[in-house]
């Protein structure tokens, strides 16, 4: 089994690929290879973005490098805020040097002088050490004309979205912008900007240096009703039963949710975890964070907590998301209070679909997934509350 458990208590495991340190050797190798050589290597090794969209990193870097401009920027997206996801925090805690090295390699390849790390406000306690490590790394590289600034987030989940993040760095409200233009050609202050996730940058440094770097390994954040929550490394295609073996459910499992936006679905032990397999289930794998729920849980309760999350985090820019998330929350509240009727379920589904089709950014487009999937897979849980209301 190619899985290394991190488990409780932040114990490090030397077997985890993500924790392999590159000790400035990756940057040295990148300089020897030259920008084109690095791009070819990353393309050959098949490095894809780990923030959820799985876009080719080499293509992103190349697009930014080739866009005509006199200045370019590189941003590390450390605005992790998706409920159930904590892998970026794990990397920053245990292998921040490699993140910074990945950032410097990206800066070298695209020709950027200013680098940013956008660190979410909830992880501010990690900032002093991260800043120190970044400063130390810069001093060691002798890249005197390159700077790394840590921009502190302030509790807006939507800033994890690339265009919103750029708005935030520039000192505006973190609202997503219409794409195109894409940040690779028109990002910070209208200049080409590369935005990569913490895990992607770490992998970039490792992929450059290590010949045996495995592109199939992904970090999984496991939490919920299990005995062994934590960050684990599994190869894509791993059987769900293997993941469950490691997670050790407290009781019989009933459902699982890939983060908040992934939707709630039944646990299929035979499922191989690949983007294709999960998307067939109309769920999104996102950053491979799985929240397990056991048989004691009513899925509607969890759906309600997810609805609260979306209502709270909607940036308010586009109407379907701003208003729709509140309506979903109110309907779920009504059902939970035993005042729901059968027709409310139909309205919920219509509302969720409508927001999905009309919202501007990823947050809005996925904010109804938990409703649609829970209605589809767990109608009995909704019936439980409807019947409870009918009796009283």
């Amino acid at each position: 089994m190619n899985a290394c458990a991190e488990g409780q208590g932040w114990k490090r495991s030397g077997n985890m690929q993500i924790l392999r340190q590159t000790n400035m050797e990756a940057l040295e190798k990148a300089r020897t290879l030259g920008p084109d050589g690095v791009l070819e290597l990353l393309e050959k090794k098949g490095l894809e973005g780990r923030g959820g969209a799985a876009f080719s990193t080499a293509r992103k870097w190349r697009a930014s490098r080739d866009a005509p401009a006199d200045e370019r920027f590189v941003v590390c997206n450390a605005d992790e805020g998706e409920p159930g996801t904590f892998k970026d925090k794990f990397i920053i805690r245990h292998n921040a040097e490699t993140v910074v090295e990945g950032l410097l390699i990206a800066a070298y390849v695209v020709g950027a002088k200013r680098c940013f790390i956008y660190l979410c406000g909830e992880y501010d306690y990690l900032r002093p050490r991260l800043q120190q490590q970044a400063d130390d790394m810069l001093a060691r590289t002798k890249m005197e004309d390159v700077t790394i600034e840590i921009v502190r987030g302030a509790g807006a989940y939507v800033c994890g979205e690339a265009t919103a993040l750029l708005q935030s760095i520039q000192g505006f409200r973190g609202t997503p912008m219409q794409k195109p233009p894409h940040p690779t050609s028109c990002g910070l202050w209208g200049k080409p900007t590369v935005i990569n996730n913490v895990e992607t940058l770490t992998c970039a440094a490792q992929a450059v240096l290590f010949d045996d770097w495995n592109p199939a390994l992904r970090l999984f954040s496991l939490s919920g009703n299990i005995k062994n929550p934590g960050v684990y490394e599994f190869p894509l295609g791993v059987k769900m039963s293997t993941v469950i073996d490691v997670a050790q459910p407290k009781k019989k499992l009933k459902a699982m949710s890939f983060g908040c936006f992934g939707g709630i679905m039944p646990v299929d032990e035979n499922m191989a975890i690949t983007p294709e397999a999960i998307c067939v289930e109309k769920c999104h794998h996102g950053a491979y964070s799985i929240i397990f729920m056991d048989e004691t849980v009513n899925v509607v309760d969890i759906s309600y907590s997810i609805a609260k999350f979306y209502t709270y985090e909607s940036c308010g820019k586009c109407t379907p998301c701003r208003e729709g998330t509140i309506r979903i929350l109110n309907l779920l509240k009504k059902i939970l209070n035993g005042k729901g009727v059968k027709k409310d379920l139909q309205v919920l589904a219509e509302l969720a679909l409508h927001i999905q089709e009309t919202a501007l950014c990823g947050l809005g487009q996925t904010c109804g997934n938990h409703v649609l999937t829970s209605l589809q897979h767990f109608p009995a849980d909704y019936d439980h509350y409807l019947k409870k209301g009918a009796k009283s």
Binding site: A154, G171, R173
Partner: protein, 141 residues
Amino acid sequence: MNILHEAQEKHGYLSEHILKQIAIDQDIPIARLYGVVKFYTMFHTEPQGKYVIEFCGSPSCVLADGTALEKFLEGELGVKIGGTTKDGMFSLYKTSCIGCCDEAPAMLVNGEPHTKLTVERLTALLKKLKEAHADKKVKKK
């Protein structure tokens, strides 16, 4: 963003006076600055308690009985989510996720994470914070 964080750390919150000063220094309209401050939940335009508690409301924390603990905390402090205690000691907020799902339920106190919370641990922590506050008062006198 960093300027706002630093001003808040220095003064406790972002008062109208401070925001006006930042707007002048940065040469931006105060309305734009106010719009930015109100967008981010971690910026406050009202005085805050000495200890700002941000209780995590993620599904992982809910599954670990976080909702009951949140109610307990509200009861202990005598304030609802979003409020500040009368003595100015604690401000209580709820946040979406603080990335401690593997150690749920969890919360931040002045930005520092406290995890695997139980009624006992919460009670002990509140007692410790109150005592630290009282000690400082005595020393000042």
